[in-house]
Amino acid sequence: MPNFLEILLKAVMFLVLALTGFAYMTWIERRVIARMQSRIGPNRVGPQGLLQPVAEGLKLIFKESITPAQADRFVYFLAPMLAVIPAISLFAVIPISNNAFFNLAGGLDTAVLFVLAMLGTAVYGIALAGWSSNNKYASIGGLRAAAQVISYELALSLSLVAVVLMAGSASMNVIIEKQLPGNILGWFIIRQPVAAAIFAITALAELARAPFDLVEAEQELTAGYMTEYGGMKFALFFMSEYVKMVALSALFTVFFLGGWSGPFVGDSWVLGLIYFSVKVLACLLVMVWVRATLPRFRYDKLMALGWKKLLPIALANVVLTALLIVLGVPGYK
């Protein structure tokens, strides 16, 4: 196997990217929110607090690992991994630049389906963590998470159906290519604004981030499914969340912002990588901004929004898109 090494190299690279991305995402979030709330944020460890994530990581590694007495030990141990694995797997199908080296499986015909599959399996970590902790807060948090993720996954899938319809393929590379008519107007965020909006909202819900963070609503559930977790296991959950954040931002970039495309990008993978990173960063900042701005939803309203508003709108959008494509409306054929 000649390319085994290459695959290994790529895999490691993506892993490192995801992990550093996660680490510095926490720093960015804390600093930005602090600014927004007229505070300072972490600035002690290293210049501008840049080493803060490293310090925290070290601290968590050395923490004592506690298991609750009545917990189901095996599942309690398994759950954090089940949470992280799908999150990291998402990166497998995201092309981060126009060079084949930065593209693991983005050309697969089933790449979009793979994303849905991974998002679907991500529930297990949370649900099982809640269940195995043998703690009421944790259980309720876990159940809420499961229900929320299942509910919003439908609307998310449907918004992606519209994208797939536009591209005529479920391959990431084709989706990006279809957004390249030379200018920004080719981006699907322009041609599919409804799908983009639904994807953005449902992505927030899938991530259980504000304003959909009922899963870990500290006022009612302390820390939700993570209540009993500490040390490295806690760090894994934390990691899975932020990795998923980065991944979903990257997906939004691919689906709606033209991926690595940009002016003068040509065959230059450096430029592509830069464009891609900027777009992802912009998405992440929007997420942080939303968290700093919006209050939390009530649970029944959350469900109502998912089932009674987003799902029908997404369905209508699919039908409309199909209609526009069949009719050959300019910009849809």
Binding site: T110, V123, A127, L128, W131, L143, I150, E153
Partner: protein, 166 residues
């Protein structure tokens, strides 16, 4: 054969182990997790069998939806560790008989496989991309497809009606 067969063997062993684990586990949640593992293995086998779309669909539908529902219900009902209760006397013969019949069925199937399966492999791989499957679904299989959609609708309504509190 070759490397593919090695992969098959490894996955098959895991799958069988998961199936046995599911059948024997006392805890329903563990059973569900074993079943998820089994489904994942089958998804890998689908990849080996040139069915990438089905593999992903398997993960999405079975693992991502059906089994989540199972886990959800088990957790909501707290039904994972129900009291065993005394087995009924009149059911005493049920277990050995079932086991015997299962073995018999397996033997029969193996016998059929080894004696009757015609060894004619297709020379070329078929196109099993999502596009091809979609075209088949909306072409010759359009009617079953629509029937399936109605079935799903009926199931949806049925589930809502069944679980609604008076």
């Amino acid at each position: 054969m070759g490397s593919e067969f090695i992969v098959f063997l490894a996955v098959a062993i895991v799958a069988i182990g998961a199936a046995v684990g599911m059948a024997l586990s006392r805890n329903a949640l563990y059973s569900a997790m074993f079943l998820i593992l089994n489904f994942a293995c089958v998804a890998v086998l689908y990849l080996l069998l040139n069915a990438p779309f089905l593999a992903v669909a398997q993960v999405t539908v079975y693992t991502g939806a059906i089994m989540v529902l199972f886990v959800f219900v088990i957790m909501v009902l707290g039904a994972e560790k129900l009291p065993a209760g005394e087995s009924r006397k009149e059911m005493a013969w049920q277990r050995p008989l079932a086991l015997g019949l299962g073995v018999l069925l397996l033997i029969q199937a193996a016998y059929v496989v080894f004696t009757r399966v015609v060894s004619s492999s297709a020379t070329k791989l078929i196109d099993s991309s999502p596009l091809a499957i979609g075209k088949a679904l909306f072409g010759p299989y359009l009617f079953p497809f629509e029937v399936a959609s109605i079935l799903l609708l009926a199931a949806m309504v049925g589930a809502v009606v069944l679980t609604r509190k008076e």
